[in-house]
Each structure stands twice: as structure tokens, then as C-alpha cells.
């Protein structure tokens, strides 16, 4: 594998892993505080899956692409070196926001991991088989809850619509294109962000219609980009500060 391709794959995997870690971290904040116990447990399971995916992706970087130890890479790195999207960074806010974020993000991930079933980089292709299976449950969960809350009376429906309006430009930011997209597509790694974005829209649109939600006009609303280039909301810095608080007491120690 040539150096340019290696760098491009590293960029792709890092942003996928950063998304999963940061959103998994956010969602785990609901553990013990969810709206009902059954959902508390389900949401926490999915947060664990995400953090687990991130860990597995960082291990691919370490084992196959000359990357660092996953703990060091995740718990010490500066915010500007993270390439997660803004959607993942935002605080958990209310459950409507967290649930809508989960719905939009997990469908984006499902589309991405589906495309990776044919990935020419074997470690990623192997991992994507396992992750795809788990994501199936996540999207089923998200679909059922979005639908149920959209049919659960006026307040609930309005909250879900407001959450969608707020989340949509952020979620479109998941698919921020990068200079490596063409190279990765040519090398058979994955089809590139634009293709995934279109597939994602096609997936979520009928689900939103079924839930009687208005999809904001994608053409009229600019996606919230920046994360893939290390430009973040202030929330990421605060999150990382907290996440690394203990680890940084002594990064060389075993915890």
C-alpha cells in the first residue's frame, strides 16, 4: 500500500472512530438517568457498542497503520486533532435531541458500514461485518422510538420535529467531503461521502414521512461542516478535558 493511500485510510478510520467514541461517550451520560428504566438500559448498551467500535477502529490503526496505543490516542489527544463531526460533540440536552441524534447518526453509520462490506482494506472489511450486525439493532431501536414518540401526542410530536430541525444540518455534517475521498473510492475502500449521503437521505426519508415528520429541505440548509478538519464546537474541548481527567494524572500508569 502506498503512503498516500495509507494516509487516506488512516484519515477515514480516525474520523469514524472519533465519531463513535465521542457520541458513545455522550450517550453513556444517560446511563442511570434515562426517561424509563428499560430505555435507560437499551441506550446504555448502544453507547457501549459505539465505544467498543471506536476501540476496535483505533486498534486497526495501531496494528495495521502505524498508529498509537488506543488509550493514549483517545484519552490524551488535543481537540484540534480529533476529526469527529459536530453532531457527536454536542451535549446530551433533552431526550428528544439525544434520540433524534441517535436515529440520524446510526442510520448514517449503517449506510457506511454497509458500503464497507466490500472494502478492499481487509481489517476494516472484517470489522464492518460485526459492526453491521450490531447496528441493525440500533437502527431498529431508533426507528421504533422515533415513530412511537411522533405518535405519542402533540407535545411529543412537536419535540421530535424540533429535534429533527436542529439535528439535520449537524447530521448532514457527518458526510463532510475530504480530499482523500476520490483516492479511497478508486482504491475500493468505500464509495465516498457524497454517495453515502445520498443513500442516507434515501433511507431516512421514508421513515420520517411515516412518522409524520417534515424533513428540512436539504438543498436549502447548509450542512454544518468543520469537524473533519479539526474545527470543533467548544463542547468537544470540554468533553475531552473531562474524559482524560483521570488518565492524564499519569498517562504512563496502568489504570
Amino acid at each position: 500500500m502506498n503512503a498516500a493511500l495509507q494516509k487516506a485510510i488512516t484519515t477515514l478510520i480516525t474520523s469514524m472512530a472519533d465519531d463513535a467514541l465521542i457520541l458513545g461517550h455522550r450517550n453513556s451520560e444517560w446511563t442511570g438517568l434515562g426517561p424509563i428504566m428499560e430505555e435507560d438500559i437499551a441506550f446504555s448498551s448502544m453507547a457501549q457498542d459505539k465505544i467498543g467500535h471506536a476501540w476496535a477502529l483505533y486498534r486497526i490503526l495501531q496494528e495495521h497503520l502505524g498508529g498509537e496505543d488506543p488509550d493514549q490516542f483517545a484519552f490524551i489527544r488535543a481537540a484540534k486533532d480529533f476529526t469527529c463531526c459536530h453532531l457527536a460533540e454536542l451535549p446530551i440536552s433533552s431526550y428528544d435531541f439525544s434520540l433524534m441524534r441517535h436515529f440520524l447518526f446510526d442510520h448514517a453509520e449503517a449506510v457506511r458500514y454497509e458500503s464497507l462490506q466490500q472494502c478492499s482494506f481487509e481489517p476494516l472489511q472484517q470489522l464492518s461485518k460485526k459492526v453491521k450486525g450490531e447496528l441493525k439493532y440500533h437502527t431498529l431501536h431508533a426507528d421504533a422510538w422515533v415513530l412511537q414518540l411522533c405518535r405519542g401526542g402533540e407535545e411529543s410530536q412537536q419535540r421530535m420535529q424540533a429535534a429533527l430541525d436542529r439535528c439535520f444540518p449537524l447530521a448532514a455534517g457527518i458526510f463532510e467531503p475530504g480530499p482523500q475521498d476520490a483516492l479511497l473510492a478508486d482504491a475500493g475502500i468505500y464509495p465516498g461521502e457524497q454517495t453515502l449521503y445520498d443513500k442516507w437521505l434515501n433511507t431516512i426519508y421514508p421513515l420520517l414521512v411515516n412518522a409524520s415528520l417534515n424533513l428540512p429541505d436539504p438543498a436549502a440548509i447548509p450542512p454544518q461542516y468543520g469537524g473533519r478538519y479539526g474545527n470543533h464546537t467548544p463542547h468537544l474541548q470540554a468533553l475531552l478535558q473531562e474524559m482524560g481527567e483521570v488518565f492524564r494524572l499519569d498517562p504512563t500508569a496502568g489504570w
Binding site: 442511570g32 438517568l33 428504566m37 471506536a54 431526550y95 401526542g153 407535545e155 419535540r159 500508569a253
Partner: protein, 332 residues
């Protein structure tokens, strides 16, 4: 997280006598004979009013202890150092919520709704294990809780699992199975600190010093002052005395702490070789009652967080209860 060994109750001697008088003596005799044969009592079976009342209180307080117990550790989920600890801690706290769910379900079979139990928790009427009214100040506290509080809980829960009420026993069997993983993870995390850098060791010793008294309080006041009636023992609601459970805990875990080079802040703590019993300085029992009655460092905070969660989730629960017909047409 755990029902402490101690189950809080207002003085109730008078009530006990009156209610017992109302129980049909023949039915009571059959009931007690079943229990002494080791049979389980099931929700539809006849039971004395006082048995129902005591069990409801016991299981409810245990359930509250699980969901309130999730809070001190839960605040460290976002700070757990490294992937392994982070995942283990989330999974553990999640388990505790699951324990709460199982126990509320078990308590509901006795006739009190989950909602009523939560209301009593939030109003302060219903108690939970005292130990969760102390703050988890550092990461080392999380390891001490994970190892020692879960260990104490196991002693208590293994005993209660042999009790007489079927739904509670079955919930406890599953809970004990999961608690054994918590204990293993807690022990592993504690060993990392105990065998780590000087800073880590100091952090752990400090946490242990602060948690020792709450842990000694965990099983409740000494038998000589505790008012648990013989009836509760005979009915297999209370399975072991406070001192018995405390002794069992000390016997298993103090040596493990000493082996790691840790010390405990009680110069009198030792095992009497002749009696086989542990001896120790009596912890401050006035403080114990003060904390139970709302005067601990975190009582207010714990209930506030729980109230926030209840308040924040209200619209969701309402939406789940009243599913409306879908709107005829999407507005798109």
C-alpha cells in the same frame, strides 16, 4: 445497587401486634409451616399483612438502592481512564439500573406500583442504602465502591436469595450472578491502583480511609441494639443478623486488603482467633442515623438528580402511555 443489610423502618411494634391479630390463625399456621419446610411464597398465596408490609419495604428499599447507587459511580463514567475501565463502568452502572428494574417488578407483585415507590423515594418517605449518601471524590473511590460495596452487597443478597418470597429470590439469583462480575472488575481496578505508582497507591489509601466507616455502617446497627424481630427471621424475610453479615464480610475482604499492603483506619480491627469473630471500633451510629434521616453529605444531591431524571423523562412516559392516532398525512 444494593439493599444494605439495614432496612429502615419507623418504630412499629404496636402496629405489628395489631396487624397480627387480624390474621386468620389457621392460615397463619399453614403459612408458617410452609416456610419452615423451605417452600417459597408466591404472589397469589395468602400471607400475613405484616409479611407483605415488611417485604414490600425491603424489596422497595433494595430497588431504590440500585438506582440511587448508580449515581455516585455514574458520575465517573465520563472520566473513567482508558477503554477497558470506561466500558466496564458503563456496563456495571447499566446492570444496577437493570437490578432496580427487576426489584421494582418483584415489589410490584406485592401490590405497590412502581410509580408509588418512586414517589415515596423522591419525597424522602422511602429510604435507600445509606452508603450512597457519600460522595465518590476520586477514581479510587470508584474502585473501592466496585470492590467493597459490591462485595458487601453480595453478602447481603446471597443471604436474602435464600428467603421465603419467590419473586424476590428469583430476582436476587440473577442479580447475584451479575454482581459477581462487578466484584471481579472492582477488584481488578483496585489492584491496578494498589500495585501502581505512589500517586495511585496514595489515592487508593485515601479513598479507603474515607469509605471505611460507611462500609462498617453498611450492614446496620449491632445486633444488641437492632430491633429486627424474631418474626422476620422465622418468616425468612431477614436471613442473617447485621453482625453476622458484617463478620462474614470482614472475614473475606479484610485479609484481601491487607495482602495488598493497604491499611484500614481502625487500630482495633482484628480477628479474635479464639472466637473466630472480628473485633473493631464501633463506628459512629449517631452519624449513621443522622445520614439515614437526610443529614448525609449527598442526600439532597442524590434525590435532586433523581428528580431531574423523573422530570426530564415525564414527556416520554406520557407519550408512551397515550399513543395518538397517526396524523392522516405527512405535512411535507
Amino acid at each position: 445497587m444494593y439493599g444494605g443489610g439495614y432496612i429502615f423502618d419507623e418504630p412499629n411494634k404496636k402496629q405489628l401486634r395489631e396487624e397480627q391479630q387480624h390474621d386468620d390463625p389457621e392460615k397463619l399456621a399453614i403459612f408458617e409451616a410452609r416456610i419452615s419446610k423451605g417452600e417459597k411464597i408466591e404472589p397469589g398465596d395468602w400471607m400475613p399483612a405484616e409479611y407483605r408490609r415488611q417485604l414490600t419495604r425491603l424489596i422497595e428499599q433494595h430497588a431504590h438502592s440500585e438506582i440511587i447507587g448508580a449515581l455516585p459511580e455514574g458520575t465517573w463514567i465520563t472520566r473513567a481512564p482508558g477503554f477497558k475501565r470506561k466500558l466496564a463502568l458503563i456496563a456495571k452502572v447499566q446492570d444496577e439500573i437493570g437490578h432496580g428494574q427487576l426489584l421494582y417488578n418483584a415489589a410490584e407483585t406485592l401490590g405497590k406500583s412502581r410509580e408509588a415507590m418512586i414517589n415515596d423515594l423522591l419525597s424522602g418517605k422511602s429510604k435507600y442504602s445509606n452508603v450512597f449518601n457519600y460522595p465518590a471524590k476520586t477514581w479510587a473511590d470508584v474502585t473501592v465502591i466496585g470492590f467493597l460495596i459490591d462485595a458487601a452487597a453480595i453478602v447481603n443478597q446471597v443471604a436474602n436469595a435464600k428467603g421465603s418470597y419467590g419473586p424476590y429470590c428469583r430476582a436476587l439469583e440473577r442479580i447475584c450472578y451479575e454482581e459477581s462480575f462487578h466484584l471481579k472488575q472492582g477488584h481488578d481496578a483496585l489492584i491496578s491502583l494498589a500495585t501502581g505508582t505512589p500517586m495511585q497507591k496514595a489515592m487508593l489509601q485515601d479513598a479507603l480511609n474515607r469509605w471505611w466507616q460507611p462500609i462498617m455502617h453498611f450492614f446496620g446497627p449491632p445486633d444488641k441494639v437492632s430491633q429486627h424481630s424474631e418474626k422476620l427471621m422465622q418468616w425468612r424475610v431477614k436471613m442473617a443478623s447485621n453482625d453476622e453479615m458484617r463478620n462474614q464480610f470482614l472475614d473475606t475482604y479484610v485479609p484481601k486488603l491487607w495482602e495488598l499492603g493497604l491499611t484500614l483506619p481502625d487500630p482495633l480491627l482484628h480477628k479474635n482467633i479464639e472466637t473466630g469473630r472480628w473485633e473493631y471500633t464501633d463506628p459512629d451510629w449517631d452519624l449513621f442515623f443522622k445520614v439515614i434521616n437526610g443529614g448525609g453529605p449527598c442526600n439532597q444531591e442524590r434525590l435532586q438528580v433523581r428528580r431531574w431524571a423523573e422530570e426530564e423523562g415525564r414527556w416520554v412516559r406520557k407519550a408512551l402511555m397515550n399513543p395518538k392516532e397517526r396524523r392522516a398525512l405527512p405535512v411535507a
